[in-house]
Symmetry: C2
Amino acid sequence: MYLKRTAISLEEAKEKLAGITVTPKVVRVKSVEAHGFVLAEDLRAPFPIPAFRRSGYDGYGILAHDDEDFPREFTMVDEVGAGSTHESALKSGECVRIMTGAKVPDDVAKVIMLEDTEALSGNRVRILRTSAKSNITEIGEEVARDERVIPAGTRLNAGAVSVLAAFGVSEVSVYKKPRVAVVATGSELAENARPEDGKIYNSNGPLLSGLAQENDADVTGVYELTDDLEATRELLARLTAENDLVITTGGVSVGDFDFLAVIAQENDCLFNKLAMRPGSPTTAFLMKGKPVIALSGNPSACFTGFWFFAEPLIRRFQGQTTRIRPGRGILRDGYTKKNEFDRYLNGVNGADGVSLNGHGQSSELSSLYQANCFYRIPHDTAVTAGEEVAIWWIPER
Amino acid sequence: MYLKRTAISLEEAKEKLAGITVTPKVVRVKSVEAHGFVLAEDLRAPFPIPAFRRSGYDGYGILAHDDEDFPREFTMVDEVGAGSTHESALKSGECVRIMTGAKVPDDVAKVIMLEDTEALSGNRVRILRTSAKSNITEIGEEVARDERVIPAGTRLNAGAVSVLAAFGVSEVSVYKKPRVAVVATGSELAENARPEDGKIYNSNGPLLSGLAQENDADVTGVYELTDDLEATRELLARLTAENDLVITTGGVSVGDFDFLAVIAQENDCLFNKLAMRPGSPTTAFLMKGKPVIALSGNPSACFTGFWFFAEPLIRRFQGQTTRIRPGRGILRDGYTKKNEFDRYLNGVNGADGVSLNGHGQSSELSSLYQANCFYRIPHDTAVTAGEEVAIWWIPER
């Protein structure tokens, strides 16, 4: 069976996928389990910080009108540890011992640092000198009540989770992580096969599942299918019904067993050929409205396709945009192989430029785990070492 | 109780911690659960890749001496799908249909792409033209048997896990993630307290626990302690016995309730004062040989201290070095506040330079989740906008 295919550009393909309707779902999660989720609504301060006049140092709190004629002696009437309070009014000549972080009584105007004092016998203390600053952080000086402290759309990392804790927020609204299923097709995949008999182990399944997890998807399963059109059709119908996104690998090239390409034709096909290598047979379609990204079985094409096509969708389900950032890089090596299509290679952009492999290793397989970017070799021209090329930074590498 | 403290520099403190003996433990984990672990031994290819002569395209395999006089007709004697094999020898004028990724029979010299052929009736096919290349990837062309494909010390990401899968490696030796306990001290921390009464919610516990997890530690617990010397001593004795590293927050400043500083003196104290702000009372000691990093209760000092002191240790337990990378940045704003010590601020280094806060927010608390670097303001000089400063990039931000 030969399918009609018209190659479109990478940019056109990305636009077609960007046109898919994606409806992020909002769920409530406990703050202690919110790490890695994206906040769905602004976090506003339920109370100011500090919520009380806070001492910046260990020292002695004194009244405003006692703040003169140093050195002079005081009577310490109470000790205020962090978490404690002292409510009674001070008289002139009295002071309270105040710890770092403790609540400063209302009538205390200044905290004199311990270093500027001398303990005497009993409750007596000598304050040697005043300080230029009050050493008191006033209510709301750091965060005002109702101030926006984390905007909606922020991915919650350790720092953000600590902000939730600081405000005693026990539950937050976040975007539900999209449910993603991964399907590896091909009779050549077999778990206990002898590799020399034409079989290969399924490495694209773990690759796509790992990448989806690294990008905060909820991976519901990794499936392996032999080359069987009806079984593929049935599995995809079930998986699209149960998931937000299905990513497949294999079964898209021009060939008799390329069932994904056939199933794309039976559904709402977005594209089935791209003017890029690797990954020119990359296909995308909607099955009852649910997106299926059908990548080729080539590991590099799988890797590139995940980042260019699946990752932006996974982000959109979480109210965000792709984390891939475009940039420019200097080629470490030339590339003279003629290309019908632009070539998008995964590479390492380091101190000595951008190259296919950071450590001089040759295999395509082992380049994936080292890659921190993609770079483009234009189709119509040979490029030489030192030339500037378009790159796309892979996040968190 | 006043303790003797001598301030040492950040670099000296780091060196003292680097001098601690750390013995990484090696464990076996299933490859499917190996994501985020660091490989403890080189992964060498148990078989070459490809393990068989592999077709790069869908097409027809022909003998070497039939590779001439095109166009000419052939009889197709078999179809070899990916994962299948064809063993019998071809005769002149015969060809085999071969799919992308399939095993090419030994006697086939070249695979002619489908696009360069025409199907005729029955098993007959016309090959229109030859190709310059064989379109066959020879055994071991990508990875030789026993070649090192992932070096020891590599943190396993999705790409690396896919390499394990490609070689059918079901279990690997990795470094055990260090067991890390977090202790937040201070009577001011209380879960159901009214914040206006001088209490604060414990945000440093979740911060340190989240950071430790982001850095591949096995966080065994987050503990809260009131200011009680004996209880602190007992908890630390238990936690150091059960963990590889204990990180505490609070209780290190100059003051009566600063029990961590006292306990440090009773043990093998590495340092208890640093010539830096925030975090000058940062303390580190060994309790029966186990490291305790005692950070101050200031959230920024906690954050900075985690990255400069705890993170390198967590990495060392996994056979690695810190992921913090030094660099240079241009100050967006000047900083005229006089400092006794160098100031290490967390900041955002972006297109418009490095600044305390990326989005113009003022609170120290909300700066942590946005920070992608630290930068240094020297203690002896005022710095102005546009000046170059030392920065340290925080990984994965």
